[in-house]
């Protein structure tokens, strides 16, 4: 069995995952779940951030002292109060999916790749601290950016452009205008 999939097979299967997701549930999106994970941590520190208010008719109203978490009738608060929901389980399952793919059929990650990718080692150097600091900073930027944009590669680019959403094209223009020159300048070798 070939370890990796060629672009055509990979494109077809990836496309089918996005298609069946929208047909059966809703479009795939990942970056929102980082906010839910944050709320699981910080909303316990400050309970005003996540308020669950039972109503007389049996329904529950979700509110937050934070204007972002309070958006869309407190949907973020609701999800954080009920973490066994589709979107959050979806992202946790992505970890399992990656693990299964590496375990059964591969490709497995080479030992010298586990902490520092080859392209980073060859261009930036073998320093562990530099890679981890770089990855942390990069992670900060992609999620800050994705939250400002309202979605990331999966929600805006894949799901969005599949639905011919204008926002998907705007996001892609923003991403590649910066990411391509940054990558070309940073990784010359």
């Amino acid at each position: 069995m070939t370890q990796t999939w060629g672009w055509l097979k990979g494109g077809i299967v990836l496309g089918l995952v996005f298609l069946t997701a929208v047909a059966i549930v809703k479009p795939i999106g990942v970056s929102t779940q980082y906010v839910i994970a944050d709320c699981l941590i910080f909303c316990n520190v400050d309970p005003a951030l996540a308020q669950e208010i039972p109503q007389e008719d049996g329904s529950v109203i979700y509110k937050s002292s934070n204007p972002y978490l309070n958006k869309s009738k407190g949907k973020y608060v609701k999800a954080a109060k009920n973490p066994g929901n589709y979107g959050f389980v979806f992202v946790l399952a992505m970890f399992v999916g990656g693990w299964l793919a590496a375990k059964f059929g591969g490709p497995t990650v080479a030992d010298d790749e586990k902490w520092i990718p080859r392209v980073w080692r060859e261009n930036i150097g073998p320093s562990w601290g530099k890679r981890m600091a770089g990855a942390f900073f990069a992670g900060f930027m992609i999620l800050f950016g994705a939250r400002l944009a309202g979605g990331c590669t999966s929600g805006h680019m894949m799901s969005g452009m599949m639905q011919t959403s204008l926002s998907g094209y705007l996001f892609a223009i923003g991403v590649f205008t910066i990411a391509v020159p940054v990558s070309i300048l940073l990784f010359r070798r």
């Binding site: 672009w7 494109g11 077809i12 299967v13 990836l14 089918l16 995952v17 298609l19 479009p27 795939i28 990942v30 980082y34 994970a37 934070n66 972002y68 929901n85 389980v89 979806f90 399952a93 992505m94 399992v96 999916g97 990656g98 490709p107 586990k114 080859r118 392209v119 980073w120 890679r131 770089g134 990855a135 942390f136 990069a138 992670g139 900060f140 930027m141 992609i142 999620l143 950016g145 400002l148 944009a149 990331c152 590669t153 999966s154 680019m157 894949m158 639905q163 011919t164 959403s165 204008l166 926002s167 705007l170 996001f171 223009i173 923003g174 590649f176 205008t177 940054v182 070309i184 990784f187």
Partner: protein, 199 residues
């Protein structure tokens, strides 16, 4: 509730599995795509979008996919600026918010630091949002103004919440776009430029 969890496990698991199989979890492949030296992932993504879009609009046209399942995001200026900030981290780190989770599962440990940075970045945005709304409200101004929410598509999906820019039947517009994407996936060469020094 249980149904939601099972669906989440199935789709999330499948998505993570496929991301690893097409090597989207490999920063070497992401950087290769972004610096145009290895276009494998560009071909995967272009074909996946074109192929899924084509089938989606057929499904919408024959009523197999309910138009209510369409969820389109608003088109405001922050989408472009947020995309650019995203692009900086993407070009530097070589992971997306989703691929980094699957990459950690597959055994890449630097992905953990990317996720930690992501959790902090997302939370800083949550804390900044009120201030941005008051002081930089232009970020949330619409790029094209059609209705209140401006959740605009190019092709008509049949969902009244989402006005289409082209008034032709949705399958025609989406079909043309999908074919362009799929043909582009075939035409793009494996490599557009070489690295400056051989390694």
């Amino acid at each position: 509730m249980l149904k939601q969890i099972i669906l989440g496990l199935l789709f999330g698991g499948a998505f993570g599995f496929v991301l690893h199989k097409v090597q989207a979890t490999d920063p070497n492949k992401i950087v290769g795509f972004l610096r145009l030296t290895d276009m494998h992932l560009a071909k995967v993504i272009l074909f996946a979008i074109g192929f899924s879009s084509f089938l989606l609009f057929i499904g919408l046209a024959i009523g197999l996919v309910p138009a209510s399942h369409i969820h389109v995001k608003a088109s405001y200026l922050g989408v472009i600026l947020g995309g650019s900030i995203f692009g900086l981290g993407f070009g530097l780190g070589g992971y997306c918010p989703g691929t980094t989770v699957a990459a950690w599962g597959a055994g890449r440990k630097d992905a953990i630091f990317m996720i930690l940075g992501g959790l902090v970045g997302a939370w800083v945005f949550v804390l900044c949002y009120g201030w941005l709304l008051n002081n930089m409200s232009w970020l949330f101004d619409s790029v094209v103004s059609i209705n209140e929410t401006n959740k605009i598509t190019l092709a008509d999906t049949g969902n009244i919440k989402n006005p289409a820019l082209f008034s032709l039947p949705g399958i025609v517009v989406a079909g043309v776009i999908a074919i362009i994407f799929m043909v582009a996936a075939f035409l793009i060469p494996d490599q557009i430029r070489n690295t400056t020094t051989a390694s």
